[in-house]
Amino acid sequence: MIATTKKRPVHLNLALIHFPVPAVMSGAHRISGVLMIFTLPFFLRLLDLSLSGAGGFAQAKAMLQSGFAKLAVFLWLWALSHHFLAGLRYLALDIDLGVELEQARQTAWAVLFAAPVLSLLLTWGIYA
C-alpha cells in the first residue's frame, strides 16, 4: 500500500503554482473553453437570426461588421483555434504521442504560437 499520510492539496491555489509552458497552454485551454461557453448564447442567437429570413441574415451580417465585432470575432477564433489545437495535442498524448518532456514542451509552444496565427488567417478570410 502507498502511504498517503502527507496532506495533499485538494483544491488548486493558482497563486502558489509554478507554470511551465505546457501548464500555460493547458490554462489557456481552460480559459478558451470557458470563454466559448459564455459566448455560446451569442453564437446561437446569431445562427438563429441568420436563418430567420433575408432580413435576419442581413442583420446578422451587419452585426459582425463593427470594429468591436471584428475584435470579438478574432478573440473568439483564437479561443476556438487554441482549444482545437491543444485538444488535438491532448488526444495525441492519449495514444502516447509526444509524451517525452522535450516534445511536450515543444508542442505546447507550437500550440501557443499557432493559435493566434490561425485565428488571424481565419479572421482575414472572413473579412477580406
Binding site: 481552460r30 461557453i37 446561437l44 441568420s50 488526444l91
Partner: protein, 114 residues
C-alpha cells in the same frame, strides 16, 4: 437511477465528442471557405440539407456534452464551497439543456422552411 457523467465515463465522453467536433469543424470550415453562402437562400439551403442538419445536430449534441464535462471539471477544481458548486452546476446544466432545445428549434425551423 440516472448514472451521471463522471470518472472514466466523463473522460470518454470528452474525447469522443472532441473527435467528432474536430472533424466537423474542419469539414465546416472547408465547406464555408470553398462554397461561401452569398445569400440568405444559399445559407438556408446549406443548413436545411438533411445530411447537414443532422451533422449539425450531432455537433451541437457533442458540444453540449463537452461543455458539461468541461465546466464540471472547472467548478470541481476552483469552487471548493460545495453548495455554491451545486448551484453553479445546476445553472450551467439547465443553461446547456436550454441551448440544446434552442438548437433543435433552429434546425427544425430551417428544415420546415426548406
Amino acid at each position: 437511477m440516472i448514472r451521471g457523467i463522471t470518472g472514466l465515463r466523463a473522460w470518454i465522453v470528452q474525447r469522443i465528442s472532441a473527435a467528432y467536433m474536430a472533424l466537423f469543424v474542419v469539414f465546416a470550415t472547408g465547406y464555408l471557405v470553398f462554397t461561401p453562402p452569398g445569400s440568405f437562400s444559399e445559407w438556408k439551403q446549406m443548413v436545411a440539407n438533411p445530411v447537414m442538419a443532422m451533422a449539425m445536430a450531432l455537433f451541437f449534441f457533442s458540444l453540449l456534452m463537452h461543455c458539461w464535462v468541461g465546466i464540471r471539471d472547472v467548478f470541481i477544481d476552483y469552487v471548493p464551497i460545495i453548495p455554491l458548486r451545486l448551484v453553479l452546476l445546476t445553472l450551467f446544466g439547465l443553461g446547456f439543456i436550454a441551448c440544446g432545445f434552442w438548437v433543435v428549434q433552429i434546425l427544425v425551423l430551417a428544415r420546415l422552411g426548406a
